[in-house]
Amino acid sequence: MATVAAGAAVWPLIQQMNPDASARALASVEVDLEGIAAGQIVTVKWRGKPVFVRHRTPAEIAAAEKVDLGALPDPQEDSKRVQKPQWLVVVGICPHLGCIPIGHDGEFDGWFCPCHGSTYDVSGRIRSGPSPSNLAVPEYSFLSDTKIKIG
């Protein structure tokens, strides 16, 4: 009984440190896809982090789908990383040590991380360099054909 009471007294002091209502409100962000031209990459801020939204051209989609999984340090099929093939949504933080990769750069015209040279393809998958894994795909959903909600 006393432990329950003590717990009840202490819990608010611990819970107050968790994200407050204003932080939780920013837990999701909506992105309007209409303005993003084919081939363009847009960076949005989600939960304080950059997220790349890439409108892929048919050529890029074909290139992404054709890649042999054996060539990938972190094998993953392109179809598993997208919901609609022309829209790629990835967290713009290099899994190596947290730098922000540069878009339309590197050997595969995907992304290139200037910090230690990790190279990503148009599916955001690591191809060469020290990163242990592909660019992360966040939780997102299509609210309509022209709008997504991330988080």
């Binding site: 611990i14 994200p19 932080a23 960076t43 939960r47 304080g48 982090k49 040590l97 910090c115 230690h116």
Partner: protein, 417 residues
């Protein structure tokens, strides 16, 4: 050091106070009459230097707190406001920033003194462990304080260090969110770091008080590593001897502190911290302040995220076990030739790790960091226990008095030729 007080109240007021709260006799016994070994060298002034620096940081810090604002859109600006508008603001800011560096410099010298002369050995184990606690509190305070100016390095250092907690299996992400107050370093983080940065130094004061208490129970160690046997012949009253020697030590230390603060105030800082924090732009090289570099090197040397974090914390905590890792009955490095060599290796490894912490973690630098990190742990876990068991020590003097007499005899010989 126990026993009836030597204090003689000289006034009516003193007698009145003594009966109600014996603070005058307490201060007298602790800092005037307190028997201090005669043979201490200047490495023993660093305790006083550290106490001075703690007060200096408290005073400059509290005064700066009157002008600083801990809100992400205002913090950086408030620091520039302090630098430009606040009366003596530039001096106070530079004194506080460089004071932190000087605090750590003195801290490292103080710790190395303890390691060399065996001040961690029986009966000073608790004193040593309290010292490790103080060191950790200093590191926490320094880290929290560095985030407050909200420059690029402030922000990204906070990001890197809070990200360490995601390495904890199962609960890592929840703990990190709880610490941050959000999903990344942002306003809630800055605000709570300010509250905690203000709090920690007062916790430090309390632990330092217990540290000095523990010291006064056992008495100081001394460079011979031989305990005091005859208080009359081997000790002097703390005041005026140690008080004046400490004052001189503090004075010399202040020369270095003043040189930094007034002539090269940004030398130890990172230029990127004069750029306001931007969560969408990562600086080319994220480096902590110099006093964290050796530990940063150890963290990045280990290729596995969780093991790197464990290595980092182990590197800070492991020295606490020194009294039990180094079982040699001989305290002072003066009489331990093999130990002395190992000590030099340790210092070289520490400085090497510090250098490597500022380099990119690749190629030759990474390999060197791995080697030196390995040596760091081997030094405590393998080298010192082995040396303690197998070393042939030099004969210790019978007492401090004997050592002083021998020294006097040899200098007399040298003088008389």
């Amino acid at each position: 050091m126990s026993g009836p007080s030597k204090y003689q109240p000289e006034s009516g007021f003193a007698r009145w106070l003594e009966r109600r709260l014996p603070i005058l006799s307490f201060m007298y016994d602790s800092f005037v009459a307190y028997p201090t070994p005669k043979n201490l060298n200047y490495f023993w002034t660093f305790g006083a230097i550290l106490s001075f620096m703690l007060v200096a940081q408290l005073v400059t810090g509290i005064v700066l707190a009157m002008h600083y604002t801990a809100e992400t859109s205002l913090a950086f600006f408030s620091v520039e406001h302090i630098m430009r508008d606040v009366n003596w603001g530039m001096f106070l800011r530079y004194a506080h920033a460089n004071g932190a560096s000087m605090f750590f410099l003195a801290g490292y010298i103080h710790i190395l003194r303890g390691m060399y002369y065996g001040s961690y050995k029986e009966p000073r184990e608790i004193l040593w462990i309290l010292g490790v606690v103080i060191f950790m509190l200093m590191m926490a305070t320094g880290f929290l304080g560095y985030v407050l100016p909200w420059g690029q390095m402030s922000f990204w250092a906070a990001t890197v260090i809070t990200n360490l907690f995601t390495a904890i299996p199962l609960v890592g992400d929840s703990i990190t969110t709880w610490l941050l107050g959000g999903y990344s370093v942002d306003n809630p983080t800055l605000n709570r770091f300010y509250a905690l940065h203000y709090l920690m130094p007062f916790v430090l004061v309390a632990v330092v008080a217990v540290h000095v208490w523990a010291l006064h129970v056992t008495g100081q160690n001394n460079p011979e590593g031989v305990e005091v046997k005859d208080f009359e012949k081997e000790t002097v009253p703390f005041t005026p001897y140690a008080t004046l020697k400490d004052a001189f030590g503090i004075g010399a230390f202040l020369v270095v502190y003043a040189w930094l603060t007034f002539f090269v105030p940004n030398y130890l800082g990172h230029p990127d911290n004069y750029v306001e924090a931007n969560p969408l732009v990562t600086p080319a090289h994220i480096v902590p302040e110099w006093y964290f570099l050796p530990y940063y090197a150890i963290l990045r040397a280990i290729p596995n995220k969780l093991l790197g974090v464990i290595a980092l914390f182990a590197a800070v905590l492991l020295p606490a076990a020194l009294p039990w890792l180094d079982g040699s009955k001989v305290k002072s490095g003066r009489y331990r030739p093999l130990f002395r060599k190992a000590f030099v290796l340790f210092v070289v490894a520490g400085i090497g790790l510090g250098y490597l912490g500022a380099q990119p973690p690749e190629g030759g630098f990474l390999m060197a960091a791995r080697l030196l990190s390995l040596y760091y742990f081997l030094h405590f876990l393998v080298v010192l226990p082995w040396v303690a068991r197998n070393e042939i020590t030099l004969p210790e003097p019978d007492s401090i008095e004997a050592a002083l007499a021998a020294k006097k005899a040899s200098t007399m010989d040298a003088a008389h030729g």
